[in-house]
Amino acid sequence: MRPVLYVLTFLAVIALGFWAYRENYATQASLREVRGLQNEIADLRESLSVQRAEWAYLNRPDRLRELATLNFDTLGLLPMEPGQFVAADQVAYPAPEIPAITAPVDVQGETSAAAAAPAASEEGL
């Protein structure tokens, strides 16, 4: 019984050693990868901050003002002014869409009678 136990223990030690070896190398590989990723993140952050600075530089008010003046022909941009505010009820409704006339009807009659007829109907209401 004992020798079997010894052999089993020995095999277990070998197996554990093998596992530990593998784990060790896997950990080191992961650490290397993390370090690489962190360097990449740092680089990306740096370029992000450079691009933010660039964006802010390109969008500086002086430059935008000059560009708006230079491209006035195409853009027609002007500074915002109080006159551009309008109350909602002052905005005209879009004209109602008139359906295309598909079947024209010929109408004949006197113009004065035609004008009087709707007025009369309105009075009736």
């Binding site: 370090r35 962190q38 600075a53 003002r65 002014e81 109080p82």
Partner: protein
């Protein structure tokens, strides 16, 4: 093989000889004990040895680990997620919408190890070609006088770095540098201030603020605990740009030497825009004036909004009137003595251009017509002690608490003694000096219903808590008077359709350095708020030595100089602030009471 204790042969032999056989047994017993003892001793010492070995191993392990920890360079745990945050050395500064006002950029510094140089003379010449501000001869001297380290440039552009690379001298070396960048150039230069390098090393250099918010908030900007969170200012980039544009235009049109404009939110105390002209580029901050006799205001670095401590003239009149109303001494319709000139001791108090608005004038008209004599009489009713206390509660006796390094240094100039003549002159803004920022904070109290709140340059989350300095009713009455100044008073050019501007003009003679006042140099101020019915913003515009030459005669009063500039500013800025104008429609449908 066990030996018997009493071997028969020996016992019999001993008996024959007549000896005691017990002795033999004894002898044998002793011998047996001896063997046993030896065995136990060996086993015990083996066990002790084993134990000592175990302890020794433990001690050695601990010792080696300790030695290793002590001798090795500490390393951050790489696997943790925290390590991924690379925090910039100095936090960004952004406006209230998060638009960048100041940020960092990585560049390189150039230094030299002259001992490693192949050709110091040629290198010095080539460097002077790349950087025209360097002197080839001086550089060569520094390269050849035996020192082993020389700083050449603090920051390089990538193009310059490439050119230096192309020189190819092994003695020229680069060190990484983080530098401050103000992408908007001169925008809000006086608020931002500037930066410089502190302690410098080859691998990095400290970036420290030298003026403005950069210096006042230096500790906050460099605090690693903030994790690089940007500092949010109360400024609005587009509003600030517009205010600066209009101010610059106004200064040019009014032939002024300089000017300042401050726009403040009356509920939060946030400064939305603060401009001072002439201005400068914080990326390339000019050096301060060296000449001791020079006026500090001549330097573009001078922040007129905070440091420009001048007599603010008639803009002060509303404080005397508001206080008299608060104390119940007068109401807007009370008639006061306004018979000019008024004689007080050996002093004569006159009106502008020798007018006489008297003999009696209503309090409301005193403000609308800007009567010095009327205000003087009202101030005398209030008295010196109460006047001082009121001005103190409006913050006029202390430097402004603004987050600028210049602010605590710009103390208002208060007369040491306060006789009644000072009460009279202070009531119309002469005799004591304060900055436009003080005036903005004090007008804010009138605008928001009587609560003094501290002005701030940092973004706030809600209305600020302040101290009540006058009742809501008095504040409303004062606003009505200020509105009258624009509708039928000295600031008629201040009317901006739809925005109900209310305000007060102020024209003050500039004091001479030698004492007395200049005859034709003035500081013009227009302190305004809009919309008057429920003010949201206070705008102060101050022009330094303006002359309006657009009309037939040159004019120097605020109504002709600062007021039109302020009106244009409101017209441009109010839409940006999302303030819609109140449009009075020509033929509005009216409802009439009717019964069916």
């Amino acid at each position: 093989m066990r030996t018997p204790l009493r071997p028969l042969t020996r016992i019999l032999l001993a008996r024959q000889r007549g000896e005691n056989p017990d002795l033999i047994e004894r002898e044998n017993l002793d011998r047996r004990h001896e063997v046993l003892r030896e065995k136990t001793q060996v086993r015990a010492s083996a066990r002790l040895g084993l134990l000592a070995l175990a302890f020794g191993c433990a001690y050695v392990t601990i010792g080696v680990r300790m030695g290793h920890l002590a001798a090795s360079v500490p390393v951050e745990p790489v696997a943790s997620a925290r390590g991924a945050e690379i925090v910039a050395q100095r936090a960004d500064i952004v406006d209230r919408e998060g638009r960048i006002l100041a940020t960092n950029m990585t560049t390189h510094a150039l230094y030299a190890h002259p001992k490693d140089m192949v050709d110091p003379k040629g290198t010095a010449k080539k460097l002077a070609e790349i950087f025209p501000d360097l002197d080839a001869a001086a550089l060569e001297r520094r390269f050849t006088d035996g020192r082993s380290f020389v700083w050449v440039r603090k920051v390089l552009s990538p193009e310059q770095m490439q050119l230096v690379h192309e020189i190819g001298d092994p003695g020229l070396l680069f060190g990484p540098r983080e530098m401050r960048l103000y992408p908007n150039g001169t925008l809000a230069a006086h608020v931002l201030g500037g930066y410089s390098f502190g302690a410098e090393g080859v691998h990095s250099a400290e970036v420290i603020g030298t003026a403005g918010v950069e210096k006042a908030m230096d500790a906050r900007l460099r605090d690693p605990a903030e994790g690089g969170e940007p500092l949010e200012l109360s400024l609005d980039l587009s509003v600030q740009a517009t205010v600066e544009e209009v101010l610059a235009g106004g200064i040019a049109m009014m032939n002024a030497k300089g000017g300042t404009a401050i726009l403040m939110d009356v509920h939060t105390g946030e400064v939305l825009a603060m401009a001072s002209a002439p201005t400068f580029d914080p990326n390339d901050r000019p050096t301060p004036l060296v000449d001791k006799n020079a006026e500090p205001a001549d330097s573009p670095l001078f922040n007129r909004g905070v440091q420009g401590v001048y007599e603010l003239g008639s803009t002060f009149k509303i404080f005397a009137v508001a206080q008299a109303m608060e104390l119940g001494l007068v109401n807007p319709n009370t008639m006061v003595d306004a018979n000019a000139p008024m004689t007080w001791g050996k002093h004569k108090i006159k009106e502008f251009e020798g007018h006489n608005y008297g003999p009696l004038l209503s309090v409301s008209d005193v403000i609308a017509k800007s009567s010095n004599v009327g205000t003087a009489h009202i101030a005398l009713m209030v008295g010196p002690l109460r006047q001082q206390a009121f001005l103190k509660s409006l913050g006029f006796f202390e430097p402004t608490p603004l987050e600028l390094i210049e602010a605590p240094g710009a103390k208002p100039l208060i007369p040491k003694r306060w006789p009644e003549i000072v009460t009279i002159t202070t009531s119309y803004g002469h005799g004591m000096s304060a900055s436009p920022m003080h005036l903005a904070a004090a007008y804010t109290a009138i605008a928001n219903g009587g609560i003094y709140i501290k002005p701030t340059l940092l973004k706030q989350t809600g209305p600020a808590k302040g101290v009540r300095v006058m009742s809501e009713k008095v504040a409303a009455e004062s606003r009505k008077m200020l509105r009258r100044v624009v509708t039928d008073g000295t600031a008629s050019y201040g009317e901006v359709e739809g925005y109900e501007v209310a305000g007060k003009t102020g024209t003050a003679d500039k004091p001479k350095k030698s004492g007395g006042y200049y005859k034709n140099k003035v500081i013009n101020t227009f302190a305004s708020m809009f919309p008057a019915s429920a003010p949201r913003y206070v705008l102060i515009v101050t022009l330094d030595e303006p002359i309006n030459t657009l009309g037939s005669i040159p004019r120097r009063t605020a109504g002709w100089t600062a007021v039109p500039v302020a009106a244009e500013m409101i017209r441009r800025v109010a839409p940006l602030l999302g303030l819609r104008p109140k449009v009075e429609l020509a033929n509005q449908p009216t409802l009439t009471a009717a019964k069916n």
